[in-house]
Symmetry: C2
Subunit: 349 residues, 2 copies
Amino acid sequence: MKKHNSRCVFINKMGIGDNYPVRVESMLKVPLNRRDAILSEVKKLKEVGCELLRVAFPSLDLKQDLDYLVKEATIPIMADIHFDGNLALAAMESGCPSIRINPGNMKNKKALREIISMAKDKGVVIRIGVNGGSLASSFYEKAQGDEALALVLAVKEQINLMQDEDFEDLIISAKATSVKATLKANTLLRQLYPYPLHIGITEAGPGLHGIVKSSVGIALMLSQGIGDTIRVSLTASSVEEVKVGQEILQALGIRRFRADLISCPTCGRKRVDVNMLVEAIEPALGKLPKDWTVAVMGCEVNGPKEASGADFGIAGTQSGVVFFQKGKVIGRCSVEEIASYVKSIIEGF
Amino acid sequence: MKKHNSRCVFINKMGIGDNYPVRVESMLKVPLNRRDAILSEVKKLKEVGCELLRVAFPSLDLKQDLDYLVKEATIPIMADIHFDGNLALAAMESGCPSIRINPGNMKNKKALREIISMAKDKGVVIRIGVNGGSLASSFYEKAQGDEALALVLAVKEQINLMQDEDFEDLIISAKATSVKATLKANTLLRQLYPYPLHIGITEAGPGLHGIVKSSVGIALMLSQGIGDTIRVSLTASSVEEVKVGQEILQALGIRRFRADLISCPTCGRKRVDVNMLVEAIEPALGKLPKDWTVAVMGCEVNGPKEASGADFGIAGTQSGVVFFQKGKVIGRCSVEEIASYVKSIIEGF
């Protein structure tokens, strides 16, 4: 699962592409003028490890709010621009280190040249973000209805213009709601261009549906070495988007954000309440070394071996619970004592 | 993503393998002797579309409970057997159409031959289920510490024994807690054997972590044509396991269980409360044709195109909400009227 080589770009000194870690992004859910709500969202996102934060900038009326955000935010900002090139210029004047423009809805070529010129002057990274939902129908026609190819053609038109102006501080992205079309488009883009790829499945939706669809789609691309920065698009909080993104990277062994938790699904065989154990341990995971594996097992089938093979483990037995650390039994307790025992052990690490 | 060809087996006339659909399984979470709780769990699982149900059978004391379950259950049962071959014989006497045995903990070769002989007589399918957590250390040694290879060696030993007795109504599975090791083991098994593969990531754990890890791991295998029946192992309800399994298959376009919901992640640009719209529509998804795509969009960037391209769609505009059906506007309403309007439209389909 080694990443394909790509160029790299720097957004506020953070490298994206090449051998830099795959970044986890999100997008602000509240409008720019709700300054207090935004700073609270940024704070939570920073705590959870969000590395790049996109924000919709739909109107020049919000210019002062964007100034404020760029000044106060502890995460690099990417202004999301549609329709009007003047918004891109204003965002760069606000000090945004990166902007995303959508070639599907910005027709004015002269405006694009002005944007490129200012981006060069200010060292701003431009993401060309193409989306199946806002693609001109001409691309679908040229691609004979093949959505993946239509996305690639739209990116290509834009990149040609950027290359004509010798601008290469680019990130590209092409997203569709379909996993298959998104995978195909990005496989082609990785073959065609050296620029870092932002990947995701667009509008994946709410709850379980969105989480699973995003996990499946993003993992298929990453497993082929495709993707330098990811965003999970959920009808859910931005913090949840970041957490899902991190879990995807961790599941693939690409990045490690916290200790790994292995816990049995429980069945009729269980000796202890695994859910209770997991609830007792999960909040403490962040305090354990992130290269640790923590096992919580309900019975003696896979229990003792998983638990003793883990850096820290708990297994249910006929007489209660056994605690392991790196293969050694470090304690035993009764079922009634579990909650307090787990707490005291984890505090002792 | 076409499946690799494999043999097929039949459990109560349900085909697994070959060109049959990838099946979605789960495992009962409550002990066999809690008959009422079990029947209630089976009913919920049947409603949500569970196709095969594994149940722990850890003691001969539970034989009458297993008799009862096999008689009453509306989903085919697979008895999960560890340690003691007599349990496998008893499960087949109870009428279980399939059993799972774990070669890691059943040492008695004579007992295995008796099991095979009875399985032949009764047309019972045997799943050989190997799990990283209960594998004999000799396999790890032979595999020089390579977990994937150790899993394959354990399966191989068992299959040799089955083949010596001319028994081929087999499903095989090899699971580890690591996505990489599980993928590697199953890639090898698919190359080595023609038997249907049951796949999953073992002990994936609770919540987001378990859902994402299972989605990533199972999707990587399925995308390579590996997997004939899946189980998502979560520290969560069995119904949730089935739902996640179905979402994985649907995201990959392998099977379709319900209308697809596309909904925007919302940003500062949104014109309407997308979450409210999604909540109004989601419960009704099951009533819509399952090949439909339903789009719920918050603004005019990707909104109207996604919504008008979908079979049924809603997009926020400056003046309220527009409803589309197969590309045609079928209604408009104000933000205040949305909930009741959605309800009346969906009831009208």
